[in-house]
Amino acid sequence: SDSVKGLEEMRAQYIKAVSKIKCDMLCYIRESKERAAEIIKVEILRERQETARKMHKYYLTC
């Protein structure tokens, strides 16, 4: 019947909206994690190089 068809359309719209919201949120969370991981990676590398430089300097002066 028509009312069932209307309900089904409503259901489809609702599911579509929720799916889009879920999709956007997953993307947002993933990108946040990736950005944090990248910053940590870069900083660790930088710190490691700094330590290596200090060690090198230290052993040269001894």
């Binding site: 028509d2 209307g6 609702y14 956007d24 949120m25 910053i39």
Partner: protein
């Protein structure tokens, strides 16, 4: 180097602020679309009865 940790975190959060504004706009758009589409369905099926 340790003093830069704070500024790194601050920069990250600053960018995160922009990103959260953007996602909020996206979510609002989805909600608006649902409102509009459901309104259309209500009108369409309401008139038939």
């Amino acid at each position: 180097p340790t003093s830069s940790v704070g500024s790194i975190a601050a920069r990250y959060l600053e960018e995160e602020e922009l990103r959260s504004q953007h996602i909020l706009e996206c979510l609002n758009a989805h909600v608006e679309e649902l409102k509009k589409e459901s309104e259309k369905i209500v009108r369409q099926f309401g008139h038939q009865e």
